[in-house]
């Protein structure tokens, strides 16, 4: 455990040093604040509270942004170190490859968590200063932060698979972009097309909830929006997932974090230098 934490600490230190932490936190805070104060203007006075409106707009934004931040942060974590030659040296030390993967992941996971909690938290604090959100609103905002962190971890985990599977940094970068495009944009478009074509009837209609859970971005959407009424009614997502408990998307996101990480570990164990 000690060596795992040493590796994690080094990742965090490097994240702080190369301004990754600062940049990600600042970016998330700026967008959250902008959405909280500017983004809610067009809605005027609706039943939904200010914090709720922010949750909805923030979650739609996080779906694009957090995966991108996570992929950028971690796509070269193994392949980059292998290319630079630093991996060779670390692997000559008394630390197993499993611990290196887990340690690095813990470090990156902490960076994502820090950036999300403080970035979005800044917006929450600012809103609380001008409006008085209800306890339920606070809960949903906390839920948003929690699931956003989890979404970030999912994409970190995916980045680890990419980073351990390829031999060149540029290949990893290319695959990351494709993965991002597919999971964040194309998958939903495909699913929507399928639903329109079949009219949502038959097998497709039946398996739609599972198809949604099969994509971490959709699972995230289900978790943040369908979890409570006000936001659900703003997005219309609730219709697709009638009767689904929030535990399912949560389980899907956790599985999406652990499974790729396990694959990355397996690939890394077999990797030759």
């Amino acid at each position: 455990m000690r060596t795992t934490l040493i590796i994690a600490e080094k990742e965090i230190r490097e994240g702080l040093r190369n301004r990754w932490v600062a940049a990600a936190t600042l970016l998330l805070a700026t967008l959250a604040l902008a959405l909280a104060f500017v983004g809610s203007t067009p809605t005027g006075e609706v039943a939904a509270g200010r914090l709720t409106v922010t949750v909805v707009s923030l979650s739609s934004l996080s779906i694009y942004l957090l995966p991108l931040i996570a992929l950028l942060l971690a796509f070269d974590t193994i392949v980059g170190e292998a290319e630079r030659g630093t991996l060779l040296l670390t692997l000559a030390y008394p630390v197993s490859r499993g611990r290196i993967i887990v340690g690095k992941f813990l470090g990156h996971a902490a960076i994502i968590a820090f950036a999300t909690v403080f970035g979005f938290g800044a917006a929450a604090v600012a809103i609380a200063a001008v409006a008085a959100p209800s306890a339920a609103e606070w809960r949903s905002f906390a839920g948003l932060i929690g699931s956003s962190v989890l979404l970030g971890w999912v994409f970190l985990s995916i980045a680890y698979v990419i980073s351990t599977a390829v031999r060149e940094r540029s290949t990893a970068a290319g695959i990351s972009i494709v993965v991002w495009l597919f999971l964040v944009l194309l998958y939903d478009m495909g699913l929507l097309g399928l639903l329109v074509a079949t009219g949502g009837q038959g097998v497709i209609g039946d398996i739609t909830p599972f198809l949604l859970l099969a994509n971490p971005c959709d699972a995230y959407r289900l978790l943040t929006l369908a979890g409570f009424d006000a936001a659900g009614s703003l997005t219309g997502l609730a219709v697709a997932t009638e009767g689904m408990s929030p535990a399912s998307p949560l389980a899907a996101l956790i599985l999406w974090t652990l499974a790729p990480l396990t694959v990355a570990w397996g690939l890394f164990k077999r990797r030759e230098l």
């Binding site: 080094k10 490097e14 030659g85 040296l89 008394p94």
Partner: protein, 306 residues
Amino acid sequence: MISVIRTQGLTKRYGAATALDGLTLDVPEGELLALLGHNGAGKTTAMKLLLGLTRPSIGEAWVLGAKPGTQEAVALRRDIGFLPENVTFGDAMTGFEALTFYARLKGEGRNAVLDLLERVGLAEAAKNRIRTYSKGMRQRLGLAQALLGRPRLLLLDEPTTGLDPVLRLTFFGFVEELKRAGTTVILSSHVLTELEMRTDRIAILRQGRLVACNTLDGLRRQAGLPVRIRLKAPPEQADSLARAAGPGSRITFVNGRTVELSVDAGDKMAAVRNLAAGIHGVEDLDILPPSLEEIYAVFGSREVQP
């Protein structure tokens, strides 16, 4: 004597290319073995296999009693120091941070870090980012990390590249000191002159195969290279000197009052006796055995059975 390293037919293939071909080697505790060979001869591959960084295609290896790559071997890396060729560190870190990171992985404390930084002459630059370091400074930092934790086995891949002559001496000072304390050292180098007097044995790799592994004297015998005798004598005596030196001798060089003869290694003593007898006006005599460069040229380029 305990073998710190033992390999049996160790072979590594990358596709159709064979990087290391059937390496069988025994390195006893406390030995300093030099690994020589052209680029691509298999030196680095051998080190990677010993560290478990890559798996052998065929053959086996034992390092400190464990097979590389096993869990037991991972724990034993605490006792191994490794300096890779062209060592690199995270550029954003300072020298102190980088060395502290590696020290902690070996369970070493801050004092060990400060001590090593001092010894490799990086104490002042320790607070600077590695990005600002020269090649020599990076190499010194690499050396410092290899020496962490008083290793029982040191694997050094081209350790003196980028070091100035003074630092080279300092480096070999460290190695000697560790060797006296019982550390086994394997080092590869291109600078043959600096190895000549320091190694116990020299292993020469050629296209992945071990073509020779012996002491310097043993290699000289195996190579069968002639010994050169440099004489201070009147140049007009050169021909009669060559005759006196024995049937296999010939003149290699005449300049001023210096005459150089080449003599078969086996005839050396007889030649010296005849030349020193004084009848040819010899005032002084130096024996120049074949240098490691010359020996290396023999083994590195032609087929020689070990």
